[in-house]
Structures are given as structure tokens and as C-alpha cells.
């Protein structure tokens, strides 16, 4: 016997909403791996959308995703560095049902609860560049920050054995910058190099340029300058004639990062040595790690450190050619 029920509009809406909520809830609590059998959706969350270095990681991730079948990619982040906004974005991504998240943390402690919530919901979370080491994230795709700093210190010590050294850093307290600085101090340990100042630019390029000029001017006997990141090289090099004069007078400038502006700085005599690593490679590696974990359950090694390399007068032509050829995406 067939029973026909006559539904009015209100009843229809009520039932429709109930079914929709029920379906969505059921889907939400399905294991992520089960949902990922066919397709894999990944989201990358940079520290901020206004930082050009992250765009190179984005290019690497997009290129790798394009080579894989059934993998979708989203790039979402706060406009400016904001840990609270990043935390909210992660929660939203979990609700939206992504399978994997790759995150560069604005603050290791502030992001920890959101990372753990996502992992507990079955979303695979890894970090790149800036880590949240005490969270449940699977791994950190990055460089060994202390090793990079130490390499910078060793490069400086190989060129000058004594004298005053200044350090330019970004925002005080940022974990990766602190680790680089600690590594640098370890690298110059045992020499007669004396660190006289650590000037923060709060990630402001204009402030970085100002500080470099004022520091060189204020310290006529400055022998070495360590840039914990390449902030001044985002500006036109011609705006820093004193830095060029400093290097041409025998001062040693060592900087982390080997993106286009920094490569040009070595080429044009504004910087002596770069400690480089591949921001593009972060993107490709992170996609591989996440897809392998989600599809095949392969647990990644923790941490996953990428190689460091040195750019100086001996190989600058080679790196400059590579940079031009790939338009900075290498």
C-alpha cells in the first residue's frame, strides 16, 4: 500500500534542512582517508598573503599539483601576519572538509590548538617554514634554521676574523629568526667578531633600508653585517649606496635567502654571501608529503629539512642565470 503524504511548504523546508544537516554532519565525521580515496583537496596557509616569498612556495605547490591526478589546491591566508586569523582559517578549512593543510605558523603556541583540532578531525596537517613543534602536526618541511644561521656565521668568519658585526632581524620573537640568530652566534663562536647590535625592522622594508643606512653610518668600523632575512633586498638596490660602499670597502654582508633581489645584490656588489634554499621546493615537497600520507598512509619523517646552498662570487653567474631563466621560481 502506498501512503501519500501531503506536505505543505513549511514542512518541506523543515525536512529538507534536517536532511541537509544530517548529511553534512555524517560527511564531516567520516574518516578523511575514506573521503580521500578518489580526490584529495589540499589547502596551503601562508603567514600572510602580502609576503612575496610565499608566492614562490605557492608556485611550487601548484606546479606539483598540476602533475598529479585528482588533487585540488587552495591558497588561503590572512592579508597580514595574524596568528588569530590563521587559527580561524584552519578551523574553517576543517569545516569545509579539506583533506590536508600545509601551514606556515605566525606563532607556534597560538596555532597549536587549531592544528591539534584539525588533526583530531582527521585532517592531515604539516607545517612549512615556520613550525609549531609542540603541536600534533605530522612534520615540518623547512630548513634547519640553526644550521642555516651557523652556516652564515661560518661564512662570515671565513672572511673576517675580528671586528664589529651588526645583525638585522625582522620581528623580535619569531621562532625561525631567533633560531637563525642563535646559529649565527654559534657560527662565529671562537672568533674575535663582536656583535654590537641586533636591529629589528618588524618586517617593514622601508624601516629595514633606513636601519641599514643608519647602522653603517653610526658604526664606521663595522666589519660585518648579517641579515637574518633579505628584507632590504626587496627594495631597489640603488636606494642603499652606503651598503654598496660598505661591501666595496671590504665589509662583509651575509644574508639568508637567495631570491631574485638577493641574487641581484650579490651580482651588483651589495652583498657578499647568501645562504639559500628553495622556497619553490617547499611547495613541491609539501604536496608530495601530504598526498602520500592521505592516499597511502605513509608517515613522513619529522622534520623534513631541505638542502642549504651558498651563493657567493664564485657561483653567482650560475645562480643569476637560473634565476632569470625561471623568473625566480626555482
Amino acid at each position: 500500500m502506498t501512503k501519500t503524504v501531503e506536505l505543505n511548504r513549511r514542512e518541506l523546508i523543515k525536512r529538507g534542512v534536517t536532511v541537509a544537516i544530517g548529511g553534512a554532519t555524517a560527511t564531516m565525521f567520516l574518516p578523511r582517508k575514506a573521503r580521500a580515496q578518489g580526490s584529495v583537496s589540499l589547502a596551503f596557509v601562508p603567514k600572510a598573503l602580502n609576503n612575496p616569498v610565499f608566492e614562490i612556495t605557492r608556485a611550487g605547490a601548484e606546479d606539483r599539483v598540476a602533475e598529479l591526478e585528482g588533487v585540488s589546491f587552495r591558497w588561503v591566508g590572512p592579508t597580514t601576519t595574524d596568528a588569530a586569523a590563521q587559527s580561524q582559517i584552519i578551523d574553517d578549512l576543517v569545516v569545509q572538509g579539506v583533506d590536508g593543510i600545509c601551514l606556515s605558523c605566525n606563532d607556534p603556541a597560538a596555532l597549536l590548538p587549531a592544528i591539534n583540532r584539525a588533526m583530531n578531525e582527521g585532517v592531515a596537517v604539516i607545517t612549512w617554514d615556520a613550525d609549531s613543534p609542540d603541536s600534533q602536526r605530522l612534520t615540518n618541511v623547512a630548513i634547519d634554521q640553526e644550521a642555516a644561521g651557523a652556516m652564515a656565521g661560518q661564512q662570515m668568519a671565513a672572511r673576517i676574523q675580528s671586528g664589529k658585526v651588526a645583525i638585522l632581524t625582522g620581528t623580535p620573537g619569531a621562532l625561525n629568526l631567533e633560531q637563525r640568530r642563535d646559529g649565527f652566534l654559534r657560527g662565529i663562536d671562537g672568533t674575535n667578531l663582536e656583535v654590537i647590535a641586533t636591529d629589528p625592522n618588524f618586517d617593514d622594508v622601508q624601516r629595514a633600508v633606513e636601519i641599514v643606512e643608519q647602522r653603517i653610518n653610526a658604526t664606521p668600523d663595522l666589519a660585518g653585517y648579517f641579515f637574518v632575512g633579505m628584507w632590504p633586498f626587496f627594495a631597489d638596490l640603488a636606494t642603499m649606496p652606503q651598503l654598496r660602499q660598505f661591501v666595496s670597502d671590504g665589509g662583509v654582508c651575509v644574508s639568508l635567502d637567495a631570491l631574485s633581489g638577493a641574487i641581484a645584490a650579490v651580482e651588483q656588489g651589495y652583498c657578499s654571501v647568501l645562504i639559500g634554499y628553495s622556497w619553490y621546493g617547499f611547495g613541491t615537497s609539501a604536496v608530495d608529503v601530504l598526498v602520500d600520507y592521505i592516499r597511502n598512509g605513509v608517515e613522513p619523517a619529522d622534520p623534513l629539512h631541505t638542502d642549504l646552498f651558498i651563493v657567493d662570487e664564485s657561483n653567482i653567474a650560475e645562480y643569476a642565470a637560473l634565476d632569470r631563466e625561471t623568473e625566480g621560481k626555482w
Partner: protein, 327 residues
């Protein structure tokens, strides 16, 4: 004249001199100027590098961008409103200018486009704040996000470089030994100072800030002037942003991020009241100059990294307190 007659005369002279000095001390800009000069004298003793031409040029160059935007902000604050979007407008204007140039347009056209972008945000602020009556704090908080979002969106976080030499000259070149942006700041400061002091519209701005209802009853075109100050603030922030791009030789999408607080601090240190009705262009320039010298002192005196923000904040509060005590 006997000795008995001479003594009261001397006393009168001393009282007159003291009264004159007291009147001078009542001028907030002069008091700030004296405070700055005392600070600079101490700094000159503590650091040999301070009074060198290179150092002073670097400080002046850095302060000029904040100074230009702060003069625009002053006009809004005099009327009792506020413009929180100025830092983001600087970033947007610089990026619009850079992208227009990158698209093959001429330098002057590109600079105009950048400044007009700033004016457009100012007009937007004016419409929503004046026409729709939304508090300027909220409207400009919104446009702070919108302008920054557009800047980031236009380039997807990227950087634009490759400008003509003349453009770079406008950002860091020198005329008669003075950086070009500083000359532009002086010109803007003089124009705004003359406007506020010698024109009816300028004086009406103070009337609006003092008592908006009374100003309206007195026949002051309140709404028109409120629109005008928001457009002026956007325009000057746009000019500052274009010059900042010229200074760096690069348009970065986080340019001037957070500058709104420094700009507002410069206006308040310069003697303006956030309640409206007070403030001068000269005071604002001094306020910006004080902040620039504080930043310079951090480098020259090698203030410990982790304490620098505390140091800057303490100076801002002390300067504001100095002004408050007078009132």
C-alpha cells in the same frame, strides 16, 4: 632715580620677561620643539654619528612620508573624526602607481593615478561617514582592510619594480642637499598651515571640531567640509604612498602596513586633540619628526631589540602627557 625706585622697576622687568616666557611656553608647538632640541642635544653627545649629514638625511627622508600623511590626518582629526585607513591607502596608492607604470603609462600619469586612488578611498570614507552617518572609526577600519586587500589582490602578494630614474629621484634624490620628499613635505605643510590659519574654510574646520551642532547653526557647510577633509586625507596619504614607492624603488604589498598608528601618534604628539578643534600643521610635522628621531636613537644607542617598542611607546605617552598637562 633713587635706589628705592630702581628696585621695583627691576622687579617689574623680571616679571614681564617671565610672563613673556610663560606665554611662549603656552604655545604647544614651541614646547615640543624645545623638547625635541633637548633630546637632539643629548643624542648628539651620546653618538658621534648623529649630527652627520648622512644620518640626518636618512632620518628626514624616513619621516617625510609619515609627515605628509599625518598632515592629511590632521584635517580629519581637527573636525573630530579619524582616518584609520591612511597606512593602507599609502600601500594602495604606491601599488596603483607602480602597476600603471608597469602597464606602460607615463610616470606622471601613473603618479596621478596613485594619488587619485587615495582620493577615491577618502571619498568613500566621506560618503559612508558623513552621508550614512557611520562612525568614522568603523568606516575607516573597514577601508583599512579593503585598501590593503586590493593592494594584495592586485599583485597576489608580489612586488613591482623597474621604475625610471626620475621617479626614483623623487623618492630619494636631493635638491640643494635636501631630500625631495622633505621639500614636498615642507610645501604641503605650508599650504595646509596657510589654509588653516588664513582661510574661512580652515577656521570653520576648528569650529566643526569644537561643536558640530553650533557650527551648523552658524551656517558652516559642515557636510561639505567633512567630505573635503576625508578626500584631502586620502589624497595626501596617496601622495605619501607614491613617494614611498619611489623611495624604495619597489612597490611591496605590505608597504606602510601599520603606519596608521604612527601617523595618528604624530598628530596627537603635535598638539591635536582626538576630540577635535585643535591642531596645527607645524605641530604635526614636529610630532612626526620626534618619532623619526626616536627611531634613529634606537639604532644609534643600540637599544636592546626586545625593548624597542616599549621605548617608542613610552616616548609617545610622555609627549602626549606633556601636552595634556598644559591643557
Amino acid at each position: 632715580m633713587s635706589l628705592n625706585e630702581q628696585a621695583p622697576a627691576n622687579k617689574r622687568d623680571r616679571e614681564t620677561t617671565w610672563r613673556r616666557l610663560s606665554i611662549l611656553w603656552e604655545v604647544p608647538e614651541l614646547r615640543l620643539l624645545i623638547a625635541i632640541l633637548i633630546g637632539l642635544t643629548i643624542l648628539a653627545f651620546l653618538s658621534d654619528a648623529f649630527l652627520t649629514g648622512r644620518n640626518l638625511r636618512s632620518v628626514l627622508l624616513g619621516f617625510s612620508f609619515v609627515g605628509i600623511a599625518a598632515i592629511g590626518q590632521l584635517l580629519v582629526i581637527i573636525t573630530g573624526r579619524i582616518d584609520l585607513s591612511c597606512g593602507s591607502v599609502m600601500g594602495l596608492a604606491g601599488m596603483v602607481c607602480a602597476l600603471t607604470m608597469a602597464a606602460g603609462m607615463g610616470m606622471w600619469l601613473a603618479m596621478t593615478a596613485g594619488i587619485l586612488a587615495g582620493a577615491a578611498v577618502g571619498l568613500f570614507n566621506g560618503i559612508f561617514s558623513v552621508r550614512f552617518g557611520i562612525t568614522s572609526f568603523i568606516v575607516t577600519l573597514g577601508t583599512l582592510q579593503i585598501a590593503r586587500g586590493i593592494t594584495v589582490g592586485l599583485t597576489e602578494g608580489g612586488t613591482v619594480t623597474g621604475f625610471p630614474d626620475l621617479f626614483l629621484f623623487l623618492g630619494s634624490g636631493r635638491l640643494v642637499g635636501v631630500p625631495v620628499p622633505v621639500i614636498i613635505l615642507i610645501v604641503v605643510g605650508l599650504i595646509v598651515a596657510a589654509f588653516l590659519r588664513y582661510t574661512g574654510a580652515g577656521r570653520e574646520l576648528y569650529a566643526i571640531g569644537g561643536n558640530e551642532s553650533a557650527a551648523r547653526l552658524a551656517g558652516v557647510p559642515v557636510k561639505r567640509l567633512q567630505y573635503a577633509v576625508f578626500v584631502a586625507s586620502g589624497t595626501l596619504a596617496g601622495l605619501a604612498g607614491v613617494l614611498l614607492t619611489a623611495r624604495l624603488g619597489a612597490a611591496v604589498s605590505n608597504a606602510a602596513a601599520g603606519y596608521e598608528l604612527t601617523i595618528i601618534a604624530a598628530v596627537v604628539i603635535g598638539g591635536a586633540s582626538l576630540a577635535g578643534g585643535f591642531g596645527t600643521a607645524f605641530g604635526v610635522v614636529l610630532g612626526a619628526l620626534l618619532i623619526a628621531f626616536v627611531n634613529n636613537a634606537l639604532v644609534l644607542l643600540t637599544v636592546p631589540t626586545y625593548w624597542q617598542q616599549t621605548f617608542i611607546g613610552a616616548v609617545i605617552v610622555a609627549a602626549a602627557l606633556l601636552d595634556r598637562l598644559r591643557r
